[in-house]
């Protein structure tokens, strides 16, 4: 069943959290410093970058679609926000973040148009959009690393602390909670899952499905853009293809979080666990003294293992 409420976590949602805790405990056997507050705080902060992007991806995947334009929405938003700040104009600097979010939402609307109106499979349409965004970015920057810098707000959002917690993490949690409430209370949330299970039956129930698809992709675009702003704040700059390493981990985080890649079943709460799990796994593998090749192989195996476990458990439960 769909569980869009934080108050009713099901086993699907809990698995990635349990996995994340297990990773920390296993890691700490070899590296005791894994249990320090500094390390854990740092992991929460880095998870937030992936988590914010994955939050948007969850919405699109619940719908039964996929957004492959994530890398260059992330990159584009980062380039845009740092360029606006770097212009030196106070007003442009002030609107840097909203402008980047608007840019992401706009790309989402373009994605929604292709999927809902032109009826092109999202996998193809969003891939094409991603490619075009790459082209536009290269045209804009001439292929060099874009000039510009992050504003103080962006740096604070990415690296600051609030009540001892990383601001990025607090922001991520607040947004997830807000979005979860919105999905739980509004028709939009119900429509999302209904379309994911059966778009035809939902449309025949008199639901304006194109509007739902537009909104979902726009939200996802804005989330990816926020991820880009945070990454730019973290690195204090934007660089070409900074979003590229985020596409597959984003999808992995969503699916490990219990959301069905076919749409319908799942929710945002699980994605938090998925993002934590993926981030911790990457971090632990990177401190281990093994070659990159083995790191990739082990990463893939563990992801497959978790998914297989989820599938088998679900089968046993039904």
């Amino acid at each position: 069943m769909t569980s869009l409420r934080l108050s009713k976590p099901d086993t699907d949602t809990l698995v990635p959290f349990i996995g994340a805790v297990a990773l920390i405990l296993c890691g700490s056997l070899v590296y005791p410093q894994f249990l320090t507050l500094t390390y854990l705080g740092q992991q929460l902060q880095i998870s937030a970058f992936l988590g914010v992007i994955a939050m948007g991806a969850t919405i699109v995947i619940l719908l039964g679609h996929i957004d492959l334009s994530v890398p260059w929405v992330v990159g584009g938003a980062a380039i845009m926000s740092t360029a606006l700040v770097g212009s030196g104009d106070a007003l442009l600097g002030a609107i840097a973040i909203p402008a980047a979010l608007l840019f992401g939402a706009l790309i989402g609307v373009i994605n929604g148009f292709g999927v809902a109106i032109m009826r092109i499979p999202s996998m193809v349409w969003t891939l094409a959009v991603n490619s075009m965004l790459l082209g536009v970015a290269v045209l804009n920057t001439g292929g060099f690393n874009p000039k510009g810098e992050a504003s103080a707000t962006m740096v604070w959002m990415a690296s600051g602390h609030l009540l001892g917690l990383p601001v990025a993490f607090v922001l991520w949690m607040a947004l997830t909670a807000g979005l979860t409430l919105f999905l739980g209370r509004s028709g939009f949330g119900r429509y999302l899952a209904a379309i994911g299970y059966n778009e035809k039956a939902t449309f025949l129930s008199g639901v304006g499905t194109p509007r739902v698809i537009f909104t979902a992709f726009a939200l996802a675009g804005a989330c990816s853009a926020l991820g880009g702003v945070l990454l730019a704040g973290y690195a204090n700059q934007a660089y070409q293809s900074m979003g590229d390493p985020y596409l597959l981990p984003t999808i992995a985080a969503v699916v490990i979080g219990g959301t069905s890649i076919l749409g319908g079943r799942g929710g945002l709460a699980g994605t938090i666990g998925g993002a934590l799990f993926i981030t911790l796994l990457t971090s632990i593998l990177s401190v281990m003294q093994i070659s990159n090749a083995w790191r990739s192989i082990i990463f893939g195996l563990i992801i497959l293992g978790v998914l297989l476990f989820q599938n088998l458990r679900r089968k046993a439960a039904s």
């Binding site: 069943m1 769909t2 028709g187 119900r190 429509y191 899952a193 209904a194 299970y197 059966n198 035809k200 039956a201 939902t202 449309f203 025949l204 129930s205 008199g206 639901v207 304006g208 319908g264 079943r265």
Partner: protein, 503 residues
Amino acid sequence: MSPDQNPIVELVGISKHYGATAALEGVDFACHAGEVHAVLGENGAGKSTLMKLIAGVIQPTEGQVRVDGQPCTLPNPAAAVARGLVCMFQELSLVPDLTVLENLMLGAPGTGLGRLRRDVVAPARAVLARIDGGHIRMSARVADLSLAERQQVEIAKAITRNPRLLILDEATSALNASVVDKVFAMIREETARGIGVLFISHRFHEIEALADKISVFRNGRHVDTFRNGDYGYGAIIGKMVGQRIDDLFPPKRSTPPGDEVLRLDGFGWPGGIEDVSISLRRGAIVGLGGLDGQGQSRVLQGLFGLLKGTAGEIRIGGNPVRIATPEAAKSPELGIALVPEDRKTEALILDQSIARNLELAALGVPGVAAEDPAIYQPFTDALELKCASLDQPVGQLSGGNQQKVALAKWLALKPRCLLLADPTRGIDVKTKTQIYRLLRQLADQGTAILLLSTDYEEFIHLCDETHIFYDGRIVRHLSGDDVTAENILAATMNMAVSEASHA
């Protein structure tokens, strides 16, 4: 040619169940060499199931199939073809992207593992030439042929496989009369050579002209087999219709229907309906009948905003309206609801709970508390919905209970005009009576109901008037005493009704 000789195929005590529904029940049936054997029956009587069993497409749940007196199983169509049982199906079985030549060679005797035999081509050409298909080029892609040409290719393909029993399931539905005559002449010749022919057709005159023997099926049972000419038209229809269950239906209302709710004038759509005019009044139940795909379901789709580019006019409460989407159709201003034909893919989301399914149509409609289960309860109670809880996934319910959910989710919106696409197809009798009772009750309360059905009993006992469709048009409007099984069946086959039937 004596019917007493061993039959080619014999079915003994055959039953075929799909879940809880029985498509065939305890059927004994035999086809003999040198005979044209027609199978008659209503939609859902089990005719196609019978053909599929003999052709090896499906397996019986119970009973025995005998070929030449030997019990055997036909695990797949190839096994049936190997025994000389060749079927030409209602759903055309040609590969659209291959050429005529390639289709003729596919699965021809002796073909396999990359070996294609060209020697089937010459006889196939000869057959095509005989049935007015000589102009069909062997290199033409099947997808580019007309439906009639495809049927001609199908017939040629079937005949060149040297059948001992040729099964024709609505094989000539798209052919015009002169071509059909030629096909018949050829079939006659084949039977004279000792081939058996088993065929389904909804065209009564074809059966009269061609059949030696007629078998009637009803509700999955073999009712009777007799020689062509033993019974008159009326008696045969009587066998198809069977005994009426009178208390299945609630009594009709006596008061006349009220003001006009919906009016269609010259309604048309390029994809298959033309000049359809229907008037629907408050409290009336109007039936839409006809064979499958004659345009009646398109009318419902058009009224629910699912067709683009419709012609003609729709009036609701006297005002002309344009219905662009289902969302517009369900708005309180129009108040139209459609319960679609296919419960599992169109009406419901099987993976979601009953509660979620119930609220989906009502969510976001102003003035409706969609998330309050109480607004659905009067309808689920009236229909006696059986479920563990409202959190149970709809996919776990029986077909009848699923249909109850599909109805209740729309009824909570209190539609002015309820469009129903065959709401009782494949549903048990008890649920049918519950649905009929609720529909009558809704009509008495003023809902206008447009009921598409494949069960003419519903037209006779539930509807106030009925429009029969044929080839995208309304060919007959029946009301009052004219609504008889005979008139309905005659109209669905677009045949003139004999004067005697008005008695």
